[in-house]
Symmetry: C2
Subunit: 81 residues, 2 copies
């Protein structure tokens, strides 16, 4: 059955404390070249069929249920066979 992936990230202007924590850990571990880390959510929705109606429903679900529009942005919705 096809899968629709929805990616949700914290809004760019918001502080991401978890991301900062990981970023700090990378620095302490001596890993260079990584200037920032941001952490969001990845949803894998198993669907009966990946038609337009289902994709529209996935967009609506992404905006209304899977993300909080005050602090998050839906950055990606794609069908993954």
């Amino acid at each position: 059955m096809p899968t629709i992936v929805v990616d949700v990230m914290p809004k760019a202007e918001l502080l991401d404390p978890q991301g900062k924590a990981v970023s700090g850990a990378l620095t302490r571990l001596g890993v260079a070249g990584f200037s920032d880390v941001r952490i969001g959510k990845r949803f894998e929705l198993t669907v009966d069929q990946a038609d337009d109606a289902t994709l529209d429903a996935a967009r609506r679900i992404a905006d209304e249920i899977l993300s909080n529009s005050v602090i998050e942005d839906v950055v990606n919705i794609e069908v993954v066979e």
Copy 2:
């Protein structure tokens, strides 16, 4: 600056209670066609340059720091300009 995206999902054989909760909510809200929901993490790593060395480091970081290999799989690592 380029960004490397790392996607981490719970191992397929593990129960995903959060995913089940969202899946149940979709059913209660009358949204049809979505048989399963799984929730993982999406990391956006801002890097100085997206060369091979940095990509190798990102793979190592993904396996050792960003995911718990006992319960999670790194399902995707890609450069996003």
